[in-house]
């Protein structure tokens, strides 16, 4: 083994954990959520990456937060604020909507099992 070999192996040893942290294991953190405005899909976002999305709706901007594999309405221009009170969603099939602002979030299931919930009764 030469010094160059060690350098290459060290590089790999540093890169791999970073990759695992970024992308995780297949199937474990691949959950995504679909954000819909009106009847159209606005975006499909991974729950593995913390981010705040500002989604324009019928009344104004809904702020949607992704953190720790969960998603929620952070703020909403609607009066009722039911969407914000609904809190976090994380399992496939979970669904939160802001009816007045016409913005909704559905967590998408993945793999053979698909959605954990087929529909939400509220």
């Amino acid at each position: 083994m030469t010094r160059g070999d060690y350098a290459v192996l060290a590089l790999c040893a540093l890169t791999l954990p970073a990759l695992f942290m970024r992308y995780g294991l297949p199937g474990s953190t691949g959950t995504q959520a679909r954000i819909t405005t009106g009847n159209a899909i606005y975006a499909q976002v991974p729950l593995s990456r913390a981010h705040i999305y500002r989604v324009p709706g019928a009344l104004g901007i809904s702020e949607i937060e992704v953190r720790d594999g969960r998603i929620r309405f952070n703020s909403s221009p609607c009066q009722g604020q039911q969407c914000v009170h609904s809190g976090w969603a994380k399992r496939g099939g979970e669904f939160i909507a802001c009816v007045p602002n016409r913005v909704s979030i559905s967590v998408l299931g993945q793999g053979a099992g698909g959605d954990y919930y087929d529909s939400i009764n509220f």
């Binding site: 819909t36 009066q79 609904s86 809190g87 399992r91 099939g93 009816v99 909704s104 698909g114 939400i120």
Partner: protein, 348 residues
Amino acid sequence: MSRIRPGIVFAALFMLCACSRSNDTLYKESGYAMGSLVEFTIYGIDEARAQAAVAAAQNDLSFLHGNFDPWHPGSLARMNSLFALGGRFTAATSVLPLIAKSTELSQRSGGLFNPAIGNLIRLWGFYKDDPPPTGPPPAPAQIAAMLAQQPRMSDLRVTGVEIESRNPAVVLDFGGIAQGYAADVLIEGFKLAGIRNAIVNISGDVRVIGTHGAAPWRIGIHNPRGQGVLASLQMNADESVVTSGDYERFYRYEGKRYHHILDPRTGMPAQGAASATVIDADAVFADAAATALMVAGVKDWHAVAKAMGIKSAMLVDDAGRVYMDPATAKRIHFEIDPPPPVVLSEPL
């Protein structure tokens, strides 16, 4: 040198995707129809047929909504204004089945489910979605005056297609039953179209038929206090689950929560529960029953459930305690950790 061939992994992924499209066809469509959130889920038929069935269902729904909306010009609004005038007139035939069903269920609930109190709902402003009501709540004298008029479903007399109200204060608002009724109608339409596995979810009122392949449909029930899903429920092949809750439409005024489910006895928002869930074959029954149990509250729910013939129910109170019958408890799977305290009733 290593050479891992992802080609086969990718090919396998391709095939998985292809499989899920051909053998495991789950068609889902959601959107806003007439101000309410509607979601259709269809399993086991090809996408084109599912799409056509959903399009037809959406047409049916907008027709029903147009007929059942008391606050915009339409069949029900016209009938409400004719009730106030007195005398007999020809009813809108599409509304008659809902009137018959509501009259029966209102009687069985001892008046706790009462769609004739549209005037009270108008007074509170809960018919408005946009903008929603903000308070202050109406004056007690106004509420008392309306209660004194005692509008009831039994004030209506239906003869053939003709109808008359013996009480001019009757204003029909089917908010506590129309969505369940619509879910039943749309599912009937699906059945006629040859669909055997489907979910219709109208603003949270869920009716299912069939299964999701080998597994039953699994429905998440919203947590009225706290966040997300309280419990999940595996559905039988032809069944409905409907929840009425104080979180669906409400406002806060001076720190107090005022919600849209009014107690016909007091004219005030019902106080006895945060949410009431009823499981039944028919969504129309479950919808009216959930409204009645919400008004009955955690003290009286069991007696009202027995009187109405409810077979399966679950209530949640303000503190998050769960009340249910033993048969329901067997089916309910709590999704929150730790699970909430449960108060089991006698069997229904």
